[in-house]
Structure formats: C-alpha cells, structure tokens
C-alpha cells in the first residue's frame, strides 16, 4: 500500500500542494489530474523519492520510504516523460540493459517487443524512432520490471489509438495482479473492472 501523509511542497512563492494525503491499496489506481503547471509531475517525483517534500512523508506498507529506500525502490517503476532510453542505442540494446539491471533473463525482451508491435524498429537506434514509437519503447521498459508500483507521467502522450488501448490493457493486467498504479493524465481514464481514485491538483488550494 502506498500512502501519502500530509505532503506539502512549495516552489518559490507558489504552493503546489499542502497537507495532501491519500492511500492507494493494492489493486487500485490513482489518477492525478490538473491543468499544466499544477504540480502533477512534481507530485510523482515526490512519490518516487526524487524530490523531497517540504513537509509530510510518503509511506510504503506503512514504512517511510526514506527509512528503507532499497525495499521501496525494488518495488517501484517510474515512467517519466523523459523515457530513460539511450538515444544512440537500439531499442533491443536498451531493453536488454533494463533486463540485466532487473535481474531478468534477456529472453524476456522478445515477447514484450512483439506484444508492443516494436519488431520492425527493434534494431533501430532510439533517436530514429517516431515520438509514438519512443513511448512504446518506454512502455516496453516498464513491462520488463517486476515492480508492484507503477508511476506514470502522461503515459498516453503521443500514443495512437491502438497504443492507448494496449496501455489500458496492461494497466488492467497490472491491477488484476494486485499492483498499484499512479497515473498523471490530462484526460479521463477508464479501466474496465476497476474503479479509479481521483485526485485533482490546483483546484482550490
């Protein structure tokens, strides 16, 4: 279970959020909404432990993530808008690296590549991919982790209809496995068979 307890963060004189608390139990997803510049990405970075909140804390299964960061990080997969792939390396090489780092066998790469229809561009350097293909490659990286908590920043950006549907399916499978997902998005998200918690930033704060 992921908990946020009374999180507060200021950027200069701007209060992004104050006394923000929520709980996301296993098998649930939290949809973070809000206009541009209301702190969605910052909130996700706080949940990842990349940015420290000014006040409050984030707890994983009741333990502050700053106390036992290794346990939390082994359960965490973050898919930010930067993607995290090396532009000079091929999709395949990027994914093989993720596999090695996650302690998985490299044979796990091929099924994921096929499932995301990345076969044709698997041997191309990431810099030659289209924006949508880059997003798919990023998603492939996420699927190669064994993490129980997915934190995604605007995952639907640049995705075509087919990609969006695929992502929705993968999210559903993840929640069915009792995973947790935190998704920041501009638009509505429906996952069949699951009710989403919602959080809107920048409204009346």
């Amino acid at each position: 279970m992921l908990e946020a307890r009374k999180l507060s963060l200021w950027r200069g004189a701007n209060c992004l959020f104050q006394d923000l608390s929520f709980e996301v139990p296993p098998g649930n997803a939290l949809l973070v909404r809000g206009a541009n510049g209301t702190g969605k990405t910052t909130l996700l970075r706080v949940l990842c432990g990349l940015t420290r909140p000014e006040d409050g804390r984030v707890c994983w299964n009741g333990v502050n993530i700053e106390k036992e960061p290794e346990i939390y990080r082994s359960q965490l997969a973050y898919w930010g808008h930067l993607g995290g792939l090396k532009a000079d390396l091929t999709v395949l090489r990027n994914l093989q690296f993720i596999c090695r780092l996650n302690g998985l066998d490299e044979a796990a790469v091929q099924p994921v590549v096929t499932a995301l229809s990345l076969d044709r561009c698997a041997d191309l350097p990431v810099r030659h991919l289209s924006a949508g293909q880059k997003r798919r490659a990023g998603l492939a990286g996420l699927l190669l982790s064994t993490a129980g908590l997915w934190i995604m920043d605007e995952p639907f950006t640049n995705m075509d209809d087919n990609g969006k549907e695929l992502l929705r399916q993968k999210l559903k499978q993840h929640l069915d496995r009792q995973g947790i997902a935190i998704v920041a998005a501009h638009h509505e998200l429906d996952i069949p068979g699951h009710t989403l918690q919602r959080l809107t930033l920048g409204a009346g704060q």
Partner: protein, 224 residues
Amino acid sequence: MSYRKIFFAVMRRDLQVAIQRWGDLTSPLMFFAIVTVLFPLAMSPEREVLRGIGPGVLWISALLATLLSLNALFRADIEDGSMEQLVIGPHPLALIMLSKTFVHWLITGLPLIILAPILSVSYYLPASGVKILCLTLLLGTPTLSLLGSVGAALTAGLRQTSGLMALLVLPLMLPVLMFGARATDLAADGFDPTGPVYLLAALLVLAISLVPLASAAAIRISLD
C-alpha cells in the same frame, strides 16, 4: 543481484554508447596531443629547456584534457532520463557512479597513457622518466576522473557550468598534478621517485573508496 553484475551491466551500456559517439571522445585526446606538440615548437629547441619543462607540460595537458572531457560526463544521462531511472532503481548508486566513472577513465584516461610515451619523445625524456610518466598517469588519471565526477554530478543540473566545474574540482586535483609531475621529474633526473608515486597510489585508493559516495549524493541533489 551481485555488485559485480550491476557494475558490468552499467559499464557495458556506457561503453556501447561511447562507441556510438566516437567523435566526442577523441577531442580531449586531440587536445592533449596538440598542446604537447606545440610547446617544443614555441619554446627554444634546446635539450635542457625541453627536458626541464617536459614532465610539467605533459602532466598539465593531461589534467586539462581530462577536465575538458568531464563537463559532459552525466549531462546526456540526465537529459534522456536514464540517470533518474538509475537513481530510483534499487541498486547502490555509488557503485553505478563508480562504474560510469571507470568507463570515463577507460575512454579518456587510458588513451592518454598510451599516447604519452610517444609525445614525450619531443621533450628528450630518458627511458626511466617515460616509465615513471606512464606509471604516474596510470595512478593519477583515475583519481582525476573520480574527482571530476563529483564536480560533474554537482553541476549536472545547471545550465552553464564549464567555468564553475573547473573552479570546483581544480583545487582538489592539484596534489595529483604536483606529485605526478614531480615524480616524473625526479625519475628523469635519475633520482628515486618512490615517495610521490606512493602518495599518488594512496590518493587513488582514497578516491576510489570515498568519491563514488560523494558523487552519488551530488547527483541526487542535482536531480531534486
């Protein structure tokens, strides 16, 4: 997962990236070669003069070449988001930083050591001096890379950094420069260089054991 596996996984990927960006890597090496070749041309060609300045010039050029290559050490990793993936990953960040710095040394420091004996010909360095020059570079350049990695990690989040980075790490690098050039000088003059060589080795051991922790902490601050 064993530390060795993590170290080699990161090292392998960074080497793959480095091979793709070959052009960026050769420029510090070119700088080193050009500076050391220009000195004898501009100074008087007398044997005594060149023999006297040789160790100093070679060591200063090696230090500046390393400094030149350090600016971009973590820049690309931060811009494409792969650094934040490593930072929030479960593996010890200090180990990953050590691996990245080791790759940096492999592609900038090691070629300098191979090139140095060839370039030292123009300074009339005797064989004993060349041997110690290579040994001190072998002990000194990894220390320079390591010290530089802290500066690079600290300034990685800033926009314009080149001056600041040099200002931060140059004072820390001075002992390496002094012991390195001095040992080479002593050996070329036929004296025993053991003292400064041991000190360089001690600095390297100290840097390997402490610096990765500092650069891991620095990169966390940079990403905040």
